[in-house]
Amino acid sequence: MSTTVSDFTGFSTRLRSSFSPRLLLSELMLKQWFEPVIPFTVMIALALYFTVTMPDYRTAANISSLMRLYAEFGFVALGMAISLISGGIDLSVGAIFAACNFATLFYLYVLGFPTWGVILATLATGAVIGAANGILIGYLKARPFLTTLVTLIILRASVNLLNERFATVFATTTVDSDAWDYMGEGNVLGVPINAAVLLGVLVFGHILLSRSRYGWHLTAIGASRKAARHAGIRVERMLFATYVISGTLCAAGGVFYAARQNSTDSTTGVGWEFQALTAVVLGGVSLAGGKGTVWRAMIGGLIVFMLTNGLVRMGIPGYVTSAVIGLILLAAVGIDVKWSKNRGKVAQKIYVNPAQLTLSPAPSIEAGSGSPYAHNDRLVNAQAIGLDQIEGPEDVILDRQDRVYGSTRDGNIIRFSGPNFEQREVFAHIGGRPLGMQFDKDENLIVAVAGMGVYGIKPDGAVFKVTDETNRTWYKLNDDSRLRMADDLDIAPDGKIYFSDCTTRYEMTTNTLDVMEGRPNGRLVCYDPATKKTSTVLNHFYFPNGICVSHDGQSVLIASTSLCKVFRYWIEGPRKGSLEILIDDLPGLADNINRASDGNYWLALVGIRSPAFDLAMRNPGLRLRMVKQVPIDEWLAPGMNHGCVLKFTEQGEVLGSWWDPSGISHSTLTSMREHKGYLYLGGLENNRIGRIKLEGVDEAWTGYEAYWGSKRRDRH
């Protein structure tokens, strides 16, 4: 185990720390588009294999002929896919295809329809057969499997009977029509006509499925028929339409097949329902319904087609090919069932990826040790404000009228006013989990809200949104454009709001997982009111928590909770854009930072690093197994039942500490705010706001004056 302490100021170091193969895999698995990746790879691999092993496979003529051969099967597979997405199945696709093949020839040779008439009449025939399925399944609520199986048997028998009767007629009649020949052998821009039409249908089908009300309703029905009905979707009509579409698609296949072959026999389309089923399930259209795209169906279709075609060309007997396809179907169905059921679980199981985090040795906190962090009881007897009237004021702030505000776990900003703060009111309800707060120049209260973003409250209590998204990191799989957990903020002299988004992988409720993970998942974000643009300033940051613009307005101080450090990021001046470590070895997990009246800074430590916790941070495997094997309430945590406030200088020297060492009055202390000679205290899980009198400080100093009024230090 390496014990080198890395320098966390370098972007590349932090970027590397945020990477792990497991993490990548877990994020990949949560992506919708990841599912067809495996069949797609198989498809490409098959194509490459045949290209290499078979001479002439990659010639234009061969590819063109393959496309011509495939297209009709493609239509049939598409019909199957749509019925599967609706939550049903259409076993009659092969039979409808055969029937329509016969119907085409019948309309052409026996009834003598013109080409366009033949096409329309055949499509209508397919639609009518599909409608029969649709009425039975949609309106009469018959089981799709049995219904279409019966349709398959009846159609197959009828087609065979009709074939026997008309075979000689078809064989002896010819039609001299360019249009008809074009249907059979023509090309569109070098692409066989049937493949071109299939492509068009695919594009249309994709838009229909993914962008139209029909498609959404269809997937809703497939996912849960009952829920779809409760949502007001007309399930009967939708299912009816689905089988009509399926029938029509098969008919389209039949037309092209007839145009190409000009004959019919008892083997036409035999077994295609089974091949089509194999194809679409293989492509990733779920048998359980509600999931699938036309492209997945086509990927699967191409695999099955290439395999069949390739095996035949290699001289392997047809029944072996059937057996191979059968085995593939078996495997695909098995994988489909297991995968769709367990994918989310697997992804969740490997989502947490602890990294090794070796912290600087912790300084002593023992009373009498002479350390600036030594235990004392200066906070134990803090005066309580709003005792049991406020739930978890993570941050506290005071306005120009000396009223105190707390951001609480119930999504409120609670305000206490009056000489002894006895008057409580809900200043505003934002929702989410309001955390850090700051007043802007116009006395709007700007609040970082976990789960929502950054919001503002006008002095009259009206809530407005400041921002809830930033630019997306182009190389990250997880979409990080939304603000997951805005934690603290501060406002620079030019009005820019700098805020921390402490994790992009977890939420307020699961942020302990982020601490356990020990990776740089957070970021510093800036909102510019002049342009109304939000942008990420520092990416890949270790749990950035407290944010404070320095007294001179030139830099932003950032508290990193999981690293137990304070950083300085320069926003103005010669070192603009550079990051440096200000305090390296805090004895605990840093939380909010705020300005002090004497030109120094206040810092709250929400947790204290216990030796056992530090040891666990150096051992990622232990933490991984712990989050898996131990219930969350039993995880090893840093010590959090205490209150600790530090004061440090502009140079990062810690001057002293204020403690409630066993959390009698102030446990999980997360924030403090100096105001007119008092220090106000807030805690993430506490039931009060506290305050203590500070000795020998400027009793006229307030936060608002220090930022926007007479107490500013950024201009002299």
């Binding site: 056992a612 051992n619 959090m640």
Partner: protein, 373 residues
């Protein structure tokens, strides 16, 4: 620890699902948490390091604490005098049928003290010193039985023995004159207390690291084959004492937590912890919680709205359980997280009621008759 070790361990957890380290039993039924222990009064001022209690033939109560054995007499045992003082901490106590008080002395052995204060000693058995005697009991015929927790450490270092996953404990016997010691059982998982059954035909003893209570028949100083009476307890058992109406009382000096069981499975972490961290800061059970922020904490222990949750994962806990003659728990008294009396090392029925010794708080508690069912 290589990947293979982890796979092997994971497989073991799947195959041997009922291994007790995988299944800390829930405290329910007769062991449902309550506050009954906290409600009891304690006798007088604290006795730092109070460890065990025994009732003398004269009705007085002998209590060990620190290096002193106290004699508590009178109504409510309020009259406290020093009975004997030793060079090292004293632990298990017993009273011999002939009236001598038997005292387990840390690192030294067993002392028998008669009414005049004369001491006789048993210092070793089979060339090994008796450094960690945890309990002593004498049968009606005068034969003395002893539990030696471990040959590796003294009693105050019990936590090291747990974290080292030792099973070096012994059950011994000796004659009434402390002569002819004989090792009856060895390789026990920290035997931490014993008691002769009321019929005199058997012996109960506890094994803390295996969370179990065994019973064995005795015939003179000959031991029968031990059988497990209670297995996979929710806590670490300490002393055991007969209960009126059959069965026995069991003191648990701490309860098991998922985190400790987990760390016991994590060899690399545990070894690093033993090597680099002082024992009071280990992830381990404790007799008392100091609330120092360097003590390992668990997320469930975070105070919510100023309240310390009684159901938080306990670092220390107070628990005694009454087991009936069939081996089923029928009653329990708890001191939950934040409670007064943690680290219960002894419980004994005496003339004035039930005496409970909380080593964590240094308190001797008296439950007058009628408090328990």
């Amino acid at each position: 620890m290589g990947a293979f070790t982890n796979i092997k361990r994971d497989l073991e957890q799947i195959i041997f699902r009922n291994r007790e380290q995988n299944a800390i039993p829930a405290m329910d039924g007769a062991i449902s948490p309550n506050n009954r222990l906290d409600a009891l009064p304690s006798i007088g001022e604290p006795i730092p390091g109070a460890d065990d209690a025994a009732e003398g033939p004269d009705g007085a109560l002998y209590v060990s604490g620190g290096r002193i054995v106290y004699r508590l007499a009178g109504d409510g045992y309020t009259n406290r005098t020093v009975f004997a003082t030793f060079e090292a901490n004293v632990g298990g106590l017993g009273v011999h049928p002939d009236g001598r008080v038997l005292v387990c002395v840390s690192g030294r052995g067993l002392a028998a003290v008669d009414a005049h204060g004369r001491q006789t000693w048993l210092r070793q058995a089979e060339d090994q010193p008796l450094r960690c005697l945890t309990g002593v009991a004498a049968a009606a015929d005068g034969t003395i039985f002893l539990t030696d927790g471990t040959t590796a450490y003294e009693p105050d270092d019990w936590c090291r023995d747990l974290m080292a996953k030792n099973h070096l404990g012994r059950l011994l016997t000796c004659r009434p004159d402390l002569d002819s010691p004989n090792v009856l059982l060895r390789d026990l998982y920290y035997p931490n207390g014993l008691s002769i059954t009321p019929d005199g035909a058997g012996l109960w003893f506890t094994e803390s690291w295996k969370h179990r209570v065994s019973r064995t028949a005795i015939n003179g100083s000959v031991l029968g084959r031990p059988t497990v009476v209670l297995n996979n307890l929710a806590g670490y058992p300490a002393r055991i004492a007969p209960a009126s109406g059959g069965g026995f009382w069991l003191a648990m000096f701490a309860v098991r937590t998922h985190l400790v069981e987990f760390v016991l499975r994590e060899d690399e972490y545990r070894e690093a912890m033993i090597r680099t961290i002082p024992p009071s800061r280990w992830v381990a059970p404790a007799l008392a919680t100091t609330n120092h922020c360097h003590e390992p904490m668990q997320f469930g222990s975070i105070k919510a709205l100023g309240i310390e949750k009684p159901w938080a994962p306990p670092r220390s806990y107070g628990l005694i359980v009454r087991i009936d003659a069939n081996g089923d728990p029928i009653e329990s008294l708890h001191s939950r997280v934040g409670g007064r009396y943690h680290g219960i090392t002894a419980v004994r029925e005496v003339a004035q009621g039930l005496v409970i010794v909380s080593k964590g708080s240094g308190r001797v508690i008296l439950a007058k008759a009628g408090v328990t069912s």
